[in-house]
Symmetry: C2
Subunit: 362 residues, 2 copies
């Protein structure tokens, strides 16, 4: 716990050196706070905009100790940092968010149980530990579902989509024996997310909920305003706030929702939570007084949270893989704000950058 705000000149340690770490590091620099990035990857995108870098595997606990001893607070850019690493760091510095948030979001089953236990609706699910569980799951929830590994899944990785016309044997054959969850397919009308920032004192601020569009299971676009009914926005905020509170969360937390029609008695179910800044909040960089990256830094550094007021309507478009070949065209379009992540290699499905378009509020 940080009781008084870390003064400019203090150091924020960040586990992970991808684009999220990079944008966090720049937000820290704007506040006069130094970023120290820990990444196993040489040439991590965050390195060039940070004061200090540690290149070491997450499992190198000596390196973790040295890193943690040098920073005033440590945080994460993504939830799949090994828990041992994060807990080891906690011996030498303050960590924010706490390890519980990571533990829960690292395991789909734990996450669903946590949410359900607090009355927050999720898609009907069935725990899978062996092949026969798949048959039981289909018997109970129907064939229309998605088999998801419990760990290390993001951007659609580790997921097998079943469906009315697909033989359950396909899933059984593809199933590799790892602990998994069978999730009933939910017919949703739209996807939204809610980004909240919470500080050490328990203060919470909300960003307007974006409406998100996925393509190939990767976020493609966020639209703000989402043009959803006020009730839905309020409900999303209430759920997100409850999650943050129950986790005693510090930092920015993203909650992805499906807005459904009639399947359950609530119009919203949680798809997943991300205990970190989130792709569906990238529009805040250019449309809000204080963006998600700065608010995450403010929260973990013990600062008062910044104003989330949105001054413009906006659409965020991800640049995935070869989309980045169009950088020149994008950079030349009127009103497009281009963000390039500085990755040295373009790969299919890899997030290379994003574009924020700004429009006047009607």
């Amino acid at each position: 716990m940080i009781n008084k705000p870390l003064a400019p000149g203090s150091t924020i340690g960040i586990f992970g050196g991808g684009q999220l770490g990079r944008m966090l590091a720049m937000a820290a620099a704007r506040l006069g706070l130094h970023a120290h990035i820990y990444s196993p990857q040489h040439n991590a995108p965050a390195f060039e905009v940070s004061k200090k870098q540690t290149v070491a595997p997450y499992t190198d606990l000596n390196a973790v100790k040295e890193f943690a001893s040098q920073v005033d607070v440590a945080t994460v850019e993504f939830e799949n940092i090994p828990l041992d690493t994060y807990e080891h760091a906690a011996k030498y510095t303050t960590i924010a968010p706490g390890q519980t948030a990571l533990a829960i979001s690292q395991d789909r089953l734990a996450e669903k149980k946590f949410l359900s236990s607090h009355g927050i609706p999720v898609a009907p699910y069935f725990e899978i530990n062996r092949e026969t569980d798949i048959v039981s799951a289909i018997y109970k929830l129907g064939q229309d579902g998605i088999l998801k590994t419990r760990r290390m899944g993001y951007d659609g990785k580790g997921q097998i989509r079943l469906g009315a016309n697909i033989d359950p044997d396909v899933a059984i054959k593809a199933y590799n024996g790892e602990p998994a969850v069978f999730e009933q397919l939910v017919n949703f009308n739209l996807e939204i997310s809610c980004l909240v920032a919470r500080d050490f004192k328990g203060e919470i601020v909300f960003y307007d909920c974006p409406r998100n569009v996925h393509r190939n299971q990767i976020l493609a676009e966020s639209h703000v305003p989402a043009n959803i009914p006020d009730d839905l926005e309020k409900l999303a905020r209430a759920f997100a706030a409850k999650i943050a509170e129950k986790l005693n969360y510090v930092g920015v937390l993203a909650v992805e929702f499906f807005a459904i029609g009639g399947v359950t008695d609530t119009p919203l179910i949680v798809n997943e939570i991300a205990p970190r800044v989130h792709n569906s909040g990238h529009w805040t960089m250019d449309a809000c007084v204080c963006d998600q990256f700065e608010n995450h830094i403010r929260a973990v550094a013990g600062w008062q949270l910044g104003t989330t007021r949105r001054h413009s309507n906006t659409m965020m478009v991800n640049m995935v893989g070869s989309d980045m070949d169009r950088w020149d065209e994008v950079a030349s379009s009127e009103g497009a704000i281009l963000h390039v992540y500085g990755k040295d290699e373009t790969r299919d499905g890899r997030k290379m950058g994003h574009i924020n378009y700004l429009y006047d509020i009607d």
Copy 2:
């Protein structure tokens, strides 16, 4: 001259590692361009957000050569880089802006002659090369004036204010024999500046003119909109565009104006020009689609210039010297966007950061 835009992954060399270099480096990073900072100063504020750093005196022409050979284009964060250094760099890389802009703005007399020769009004002035010139200047222009050294003056440095009640002997005694200019004191109603960006093809974009307030000869505040008559804004833009064109300028150029009442036949005179991003353009970081730093990088990298559209009204307040002690109070005020420059030592009169306040456009 850069004929096609430098692709992400290219390197922008920047002479100077202060706050302007720092904000330029972050703008470059956002576009996927690497910044290589050249500064004689260890721990220059720009270092922590740049890919590469050269620490060497500007007079070390070997270091300059090595630096220039490694970058795709070189630019400056301030105009007082020695001309030899910049010209030497030009042998090994493209430089933008060109050396003429630097040469002229390094010498108050050359600047005034350049402006006058293109019909752009300046305060009446008199060239001072020896003590007796001061007497002649006072005889010709009156006692109410300012004696300014021709070189290395900024933020009021190298200036002696005369006045109706001050003995000319004071100026003569203070005069150190350096080439100087005696400038007639102009009664101005307000100060504005005009920031333009110009690319290699000669395209020009304008930012809205801010109205500026100085305290102790250091910029204290910029207000946008300036609430000046349209004619005045148009005239400022026309003068700024003419200066940029006559210099065949590439990058962001700032022109400071006094709006006067009746002294000459034009309501605007140029106070000075700055061939670089400028403190009176810091509000663009948070109030415009594309800010002055990104547009400077875009211009020198051969990219199409970005949209200068302003989405919010704004006020920029500089944090000078011990103002920075108030960082916590500022960071906690609703809607204040704090920018801290990461300087390791607070000194009187030193620019430590700035605050942008955003307001809805009426």
